[in-house]
């Protein structure tokens, strides 16, 4: 057949078929809207019933027992939203009701068989039910092929306080992008004080990917355990600048006075990123021992270093403020930086 005629015929067929497909989707949409409206209306009814149940002692679980299976399933999918509405005893009562309605099993089924979006929601819903069945399925989900589902399962385990160790997290979430996700950093933080030794080991392990070590260092700061200070101080000499900068960032979060001893090295670092973080840390700690260095840094050739040094001096109270006012009188770069900080901070403080 002539190629030109073929082009014409194929184009014609595709142009004719596509609107037909679209019309099928339009019909589908009509049903979808009806179903959705019914579902939303039923969800509102059920939510009201649940809230009434929580307030009304005369209403018992029997009313919910008489619900049809799809209503129970709907309640299960609403679990996360409902539980966000209530606190205290009401929350416990609601969890018991949802358990009674087999919400756990239903959500586990969604987690196994649903689409990605529903599975992520199921993970979040299951985070409210602390029992072995849930822990097992969530732990198993850490092996899921979908990273978003894996990280949701890990997050739910964290919410339940049943997050696995750093090693397990590494092995389960080890994907090309997974190890770099900021979400993983939050999970490390959620491991809490018990994980400090493990995180310290990861942070110090030069064979680990750099971004991964940074997440561990950040988590060590956010956990807030002073046991992390000494290992972090040791890492302040790491050859990699991103690691050193992360160390000072975390030391700033910990804000312990003992950090003052390591600050001079950070403030004189060859990397401006490290100097900036060290200056920020000095301000947070209130390290008066580094005031002379900070004054010199007001003439640094990098704007961010000058700015953070000025901020640090300002944060040190009267001593820093006086120094800034003295330097501001100079017709130098340092004077300009000091003037800039005073002009910005003083009116804001009034």
């Amino acid at each position: 057949m002539d190629l030109h005629i073929t082009i014409w015929q194929i184009s014609l067929v595709l142009a004719a078929v596509s609107p037909v497909v679209m019309m099928v989707l339009v019909v589908n949409r009509i049903f979808y809207i009806r179903l959705r409206q019914n579902r939303l209306a039923r969800a509102d009814e059920l939510t009201m019933k649940v809230l009434t149940y929580l307030d009304d002692e005369d209403m018992d679980e029997a009313w919910f027992d008489s619900l049809r299976g799809r209503d129970k399933k709907l309640l299960g999918s609403l679990a996360g939203d409902l539980l966000r509405l209530v606190r205290g005893d009401n929350r416990k009562t609601l969890i018991n009701l949802l358990r009674h309605l087999d919400t756990v099993d239903r959500q586990i089924m969604v987690l196994i068989k649903g689409n990605q979006r529903d599975r992520i929601t199921a993970c979040a819903n299951l985070a409210h039910f602390d029992d072995e069945k849930v822990i097992n399925i969530l732990t198993k989900t850490l092996d899921d092929k979908d990273f978003d589902v894996r990280i949701s399962a890990a997050r739910s385990l964290a919410d339940l306080g049943r997050i696995p160790s750093v090693d397990i997290l590494i092995s389960k979430l080890d994907a090309s992008t997974g190890l770099r996700s900021r979400a993983l950093g939050n999970l490390f933080r959620d491991l809490g004080q018990a994980a400090v030794p493990e995180l310290t080991a990861v942070a110090a392990d030069i064979d680990q990917p750099e971004q991964f070590r940074i997440l561990a260092i950040n988590a060590l700061g956010q956990i807030g355990d002073y046991a992390a200070i000494d290992p972090l101080i040791e890492l302040a000499n790491d050859p990699r600048l991103e690691i050193r900068a992360a160390v000072y960032r975390s030391l700033a979060v910990l804000s312990h006075p003992v950090v003052s001893s390591v600050l001079p090295a950070g403030l004189r670092d060859t990397s401006w990123e490290v100097r900036t973080q060290a200056a920020f840390c000095a301000g947070r700690v209130g390290a008066l021992n580094v005031v002379p260095i900070l004054i010199k840094m007001l003439a640094d050739n990098i704007w961010w270093v000058r700015y953070r040094a000025g901020e640090a001096l300002y944060a040190m109270g009267d001593v820093g403020l006086e120094m800034l006012q003295v330097v501001a009188k100079e017709q130098t770069l340092a004077g300009e930086s000091a003037g800039m900080i005073l002009a910005e901070k003083l009116p804001a403080a009034e």
């Binding site: 002539d2 190629l3 030109h4 005629i5 082009i7 014409w8 194929i10 184009s11 014609l12 595709l14 142009a15 078929v17 596509s18 609107p19 497909v21 679209m22 019309m23 989707l25 339009v26 949409r29 009509i30 979808y32 809207i33 996360g80 939203d81 966000r84 689409n115 990605q116 979006r117 529903d118 992520i120 929601t121 993970c123 979040a124 819903n125 990273f147 978003d148 949701s152 997050r155 992008t177 770099r180 996700s181 900021r182 979400a183 950093g185 939050n186 971004q211 704007w303 961010w304 700015y307 800039m340 900080i341 002009a343 910005e344 009116p347 804001a348």
Partner: protein
């Protein structure tokens, strides 16, 4: 003499066959590119479901997982809409953000309106001149809302205003947008996800939709509806094709060359490293992205530019032919300026898919496509009328120029309906299907003619944006 005439006719026929086959071959190639884009967009949408679950958004809102963002709203003579726009921006759902309105030397009462509405007071905010822009006259902060900062500067155009925003901002990410763009309340949460997942992401674009016809109250869209007028309706289809099909496909191939100026998030440090937005170009949104690609490829840095298919931003479409003409010729000039400025990247393996695919696509679709297609509108019917080409060739040309486009347009709509369902009423879908058919008979051709006009302006080095008349959101309430 007769022999000469016969020879001439024979040579003319050969030339006609050559020209007509070239035009048809080119049209076929273009349509194959569109078809591949449609397939890739489908694959990408299936690979990663486009709608973030509420639980994910809730987690992002309540945890410190997200990085702070500075939103830049460059404003030039936006007195009518600016207060409503700023209110809408300040009401966004996001843990840490600031809104920086850059008054780019407005000659109306934009600044005074802002001062009154938000009780602005002059403040000192030190900043480094990392990227160049016209002098800042004063920086203001709001006594009522600490998230709001207003920069009053001398007029220098949108790119100049954005550069001022880059300098004054201190957050690691910034969102470049138009002052009259309307964002979904959870837009930032949705679009920032790639930055959370992958630290190598340097920029993210989101889908922009047409606001004409929608009901807007207090800076928020309360009802999504289709435009009543035919021109914005056709543009609704165009945007659907451009975002849900083309950009998604190019992002899948790591060759995305454009993040709309109406909405895009960038790493501040990356934008500074390429010198910020370039001056003297009308396609600053495409140019900065190409500069980023170019620099990071030349440095050998691993990076990613992502695209989020969820609709996050709504913008007003031109409703008259005159305004639309000015917009399209400007877009064409912007595209050509960027292409020729960075032509070294074309088919250069050093720039990976950006050079080998992205730039090749620009060459075909933006550089040589419009003149060839427009030439075809006149030549092919003429050749057939003069009996110099076969009816089969005419059919093939008609198929590729008018008919195949229906499939591509409706295909994009099918993707939208399958994965997003953002047009609320079934009747909207019927109207859009009709628009997807009709736009191929006249509107698309008109656009190509305008693009050739843009080409001509580019060759004549015409500068400036031309007058853009906006209806304003207030009238839509």
């Amino acid at each position: 003499m007769e022999t000469l005439l016969v020879d001439f006719r024979s040579e003319a026929l050969t030339a006609v066959v050559y020209i007509s086959h070239s035009i048809i071959g080119f049209a076929l190639f273009q349509n194959v590119i569109y078809l591949v884009q449609l397939v890739l967009a489908y694959v990408e949408l299936r690979r990663k479901r486009p709608i973030s679950p509420d639980s994910t958004l809730w987690h992002m809102l309540t945890s410190d997982i997200t990085q702070p963002i500075s939103l830049f709203a460059p404003a030039y003579n936006e007195e009518a809409n600016i207060v409503e726009s700023v209110h809408s921006l300040l009401a966004l759902h996001y843990p840490h953000f600031e809104v920086i309105v850059i008054n780019d030397g407005s000659t109306d009462g934009t600044l005074e309106t802002l001062i009154d509405a938000f009780e602005l007071v002059p403040v000192e905010r030190s900043f480094e001149l990392s990227v160049s822009h016209k002098p800042v006259r004063q920086i203001y902060a709001s006594s009522r809302n600490r998230k709001l900062v207003v920069i009053d500067k001398e007029n220098g155009g949108k790119s100049d205003a954005l550069n001022a925003g880059i300098n004054v901002s201190r957050y690691p990410l910034f969102c470049a947008m138009d002052a009259d763009s309307l964002l979904e309340t959870d837009a930032l949460l949705r679009v920032v996800q790639p930055f959370v997942d992958d630290p190598s992401v340097v920029a993210v674009g989101g889908t922009v939709r047409i606001v004409n016809g929608c009901t807007v109250r207090a800076g928020h869209i309360t009802k999504v509806a289709l435009p009543k007028k035919i021109l914005p309706l056709f543009q609704t289809m165009e945007y659907l094709r451009a975002y849900l099909m083309a950009r998604l496909a190019w992002s899948y191939l790591d060759a995305l060359l454009l993040i709309s100026g109406a909405f895009g998030i960038f790493k501040r440090q990356t934008a500074i490293s390429v010198g910020g937005y370039s001056h003297g170009t009308v396609g600053e949104d495409m140019e900065i992205l190409v500069k980023i690609h170019r620099k990071l490829h030349e440095e050998g840095t691993k990076y990613r530019i992502a695209f989020v298919p969820e609709p996050v931003c709504w913008t007003e479409a031109p409703e008259t032919l005159g305004v639309l003409y000015r917009q399209r010729t400007r877009w064409q000039r912007g595209s050509l300026e960027t292409f020729f400025k960075h032509r070294k990247m074309l088919l250069n393996p050093r720039y990976g898919n950006v050079g080998m695919l992205g730039f090749l696509n620009t060459l075909i679709v933006d550089v040589i496509g419009p003149p060839i297609e427009v030439a075809g509108y006149f030549m092919i019917p003429l050749f057939w009328f003069l009996d110099m080409m076969t009816f089969e060739l005419l059919l093939a040309y008609t198929a590729l120029t008018f008919v195949f486009g229906i499939f591509i347009s409706v295909g994009s709509l099918i993707l939208e309906e399958m994965e997003l369902k953002r047009f609320p009423a079934p009747s909207d879908l019927v109207v859009l299907t009709l628009a997807a058919v009709l736009e191929n008979f006249g509107y698309r051709q008109l656009n190509n003619i305008w693009r050739v006009a843009g080409y001509w302006q580019f060759l004549r080095k015409v500068q400036g944006w031309g007058k853009m008349t906006r209806t304003g959101f207030k009238k839509k309430s």
